[in-house]
Symmetry: C2
């Protein structure tokens, strides 16, 4: 085994917290999108920042790669171990350290999930808004700059993190910020680590902004005769500055997947899942404005969820869409990818992508956090068919090129990982040189999640 000396030293220090069992290693090398076959050499289940720091220092001494692991729900191979090494599993660091109700902020360990945090907050009238479609850890969400259905109103992890505790690649412990809401003090290390995908250090604690649960929430669906009518409505809604809480678009195929998976019976036509929040008066005003707009562009009246339970069921169904679509093609390889474009180009980008899909033999659905200009596709292909796999790859590449050409980005929220490293080069060009310089400066040994985000060449440890 390549790192046997390192693993023996870790075993002697950490005992049963270190596992080299095959099942453990495989489970830590396989992500939600099925990137597979790249297990780490060992898994360490840590309980504290000090343990993380000690493990990092030991790995550094042996130049052993480190892959931070939260819930394993990322989609671009972030947690795979293409160069072997140690998976540091932070899911056991799941304490809520300090709630400051007066400041609407909370301090948590990196392994706390967004669901656990919101369950803890429920009776306090507060919530944490960022909600990717899986049960994921807040540390992992910061590391991948995660987003979700609430981003149109509340922003992404980029907007919701006040400060991070980070174990650097050399095993030092730093705090990037404070609990103050703004600061002009020095380089913005908080944002440098948000979205760094474990390539610069390991996030072990987070201070997060919280928000008051709105006095009134109303959710419902609005149906459209065409994708264009739906995207036109979204664009007009955002351009007029209407502060919707959520505005999610599902195409016909996505609605079909939801219907099948969640035993619902929505008509299979492009549909917006909507939520309005605020005081009673503002919610009523928002609904009236939106309804006028949607009707004028060919949409239906909003069909409201009547009860809290029905509302929860609706959003649960939306969050399960990835799994629902996967269920449409058992045995198929599933590839989900996301791009984000300026709002004025959303309709064009989705329509052109749809035309591409219709000309292909694959099942490929579209859905998205369209209020941000962000949409996803979920494509199914037979992994044993070279033709289908190459069609899939081509569709993916064409969508990314299209988004970049429209002034957008190759990923709104899934990240780069293994899968989009070439796309990052297409999008950022010479700016990736600076990313490499920062990476080399903060991780001189090249041990932090190697093989992710940046091309291997030039990097130490490559």
């Amino acid at each position: 085994m390549p790192f046997s000396t390192a693993i023996a030293a870790l075993k002697s220090r950490f005992g049963a917290k270190l596992s080299t069992a095959v099942a453990d290693r495989q489970a830590h090398g396989r992500d939600e999108a099925g990137h597979d076959g790249m297990p780490p050499d060992a898994v360490l289940r840590v309980g504290s920042t000090d343990e993380v720091a000690e493990a990092v220092r030991m790995c550094a001494a042996y130049k052993m790669p480190i892959i931070p692991f939260g819930a394993g729900t990322s989609l671009e191979g972030h947690i795979c171990a293409p160069k072997g090494g140690l998976s540091i599993d932070l899911s056991g660091m799941n304490r809520i350290i300090e709630l400051n109700e007066g400041d609407q902020d909370v301090r948590v360990e990196a392994g706390v999930t967004r669901q656990a945090l919101n369950a803890y907050l429920r009776d306090k009238g507060l919530f944490f808004p960022v909600d990717p479609g899986s049960e994921c850890t807040l540390g992992g969400m910061a590391a991948t700059r995660a987003s979700g259905t609430n981003a149109v109103r509340y922003g992404t992890m980029r907007e919701q993190v006040l400060s991070l505790k980070v174990v650097t690649a050399l095993g030092d412990v730093i705090e990037t910020g404070t609990r103050a809401r703004k600061s002009a003090a020095g380089l913005d290390l908080t944002h440098l680590f948000i979205g760094s995908e474990g390539t610069l250090g390991i996030i072990t604690e987070l201070s997060l902004k919280l928000h008051g649960i709105p006095e009134k929430l109303a959710a419902g669906v609005c149906r459209f005769p065409s994708l264009r009518a739906a995207t036109d409505t979204v664009m007009a809604t955002i351009q007029m500055g209407l502060p919707v809480s959520r505005i999610e678009l599902l195409d016909e195929l996505s609605v079909r997947a939801v219907n099948t998976y969640a035993k619902m019976n929505h008509p299979e036509t492009p549909t917006l899942f909507l939520e309005f929040g605020g005081t009673s008066a503002t919610v009523d005003e928002q609904i009236a404005i939106f309804t006028d707009l949607a009707l004028s562009l060919g949409g239906s009246d909003i069909e409201f969820a009547d009860t809290q339970e029905e509302m929860n069921r609706m959003w649960h169904a939306r969050h399960q869409l990835y799994y629902a679509t996967r269920a449409m093609g058992p045995g198929k390889k599933i590839v989900t990818t996301d791009v984000c474009v300026p709002m004025s180009r959303l309709g064009d980008c989705m329509l052109e992508t749809r035309a591409d899909f219709e000309a292909s033999p694959l099942f490929a659905s579209m859905l998205g956090h369209v209020g941000d200009g962000n949409f996803h596709t979920i494509m199914l292909a037979d992994p044993t068919s070279r033709v289908e796999m190459s069609v899939l790859e081509r569709l993916n590449e064409r969508m990314v090129r299209r988004a970049i050409a429209m002034g957008g980005t190759c990923t709104g929220e899934h990240g780069i990982g293994i899968g989009k490293r070439d796309f990052l080069q297409w999008e950022k060009g010479p700016a990736t040189t600076l990313m490499r310089q920062v990476k080399m400066a903060l991780d001189p040994l090249g041990i932090m999640n190697p093989g992710k985000m940046l091309p291997d060449e030039d990097l130490p440890g490559a």
Copy 2:
């Protein structure tokens, strides 16, 4: 002259755009706070990104320091030249390149001022919200992570910049982002350059978010019998999530300064300058909620500005407060400093700071963007009195230590520059090591605004 060869080369390339006139050099070495006596060796007035890149490459060849210059309105010595070098003046790069109304974003050159941008936008129903109290350039505002009275509602430059064009320390040109509203593509170089104070590269263009001018705006003042009553009201307002557009606190001395300077006659008591924005219904609702709250905590009814003109006059007076206070002590040295603390500590921090001031012989007023937990002090001292100057320094240090101890930051919006380098160490501790590593990676020659933000030792060029 230390850089005479470099300057001769620049002169031969740039001709009349390069100035070594004493008046020019002095004007470019003196900032709004009167940091003085550190003029650059020459001033280059650039007209394009290509010119900036060429100048940077020439300076790099001669290891000549570079100090980016916008409007010269920063407050912590950012534009001084303690090691000499070339001041690159971007104020001539003042084109508005592209307005995308449908996406509510705009592309500008770095020398466009916030006032010029808003004048351009006025008849389009859009505005750019970040408003420091001076006529400053948007490039300088990004470089110093500027803020202002609208930050409580719209955030700071940190939240309003979509992407930057940057000339790196090696003279390469990069674009940090796209016009997409969110992205998970790679390391966040946009935020790395926002607030980098010219120490990593030179911002030459910006893509900025814009916002619709609210349907209704209402502004007015609310008076309080004590500073505590005012801060309690601010804390309660923010904690209940009331989306005020502006909530600015002026203490008695600040009100007196405004009265004298702007020929107004506000009663000299702690006063909130307020603005509410939104639809007619939401503004009325906000005003009703705020008024109830303020009355219950000892405040007055809101005294509204009746006309747009009166509203403009009120905010103009607020923005002139720095100059107004300076006018209270002709010939005195003026030191303005700012800290930012978690909202729940705002009252304690301001009251303890006030007690310190009252025990001192100096004129020292307090004011601030209190909705963010951010407040300023403006202190006047006789520069020829060693006693007064040392009292001033001690008051400043005690305020910063107090804010940090309360979980806050040594500067909410003014930045580090020359003046707060020790404070940055107090606040960030070992995290400054990472800042140094990033600095050395991106500016290996140490030519980008040396002597600012980070301590000199260890840095190349020191």
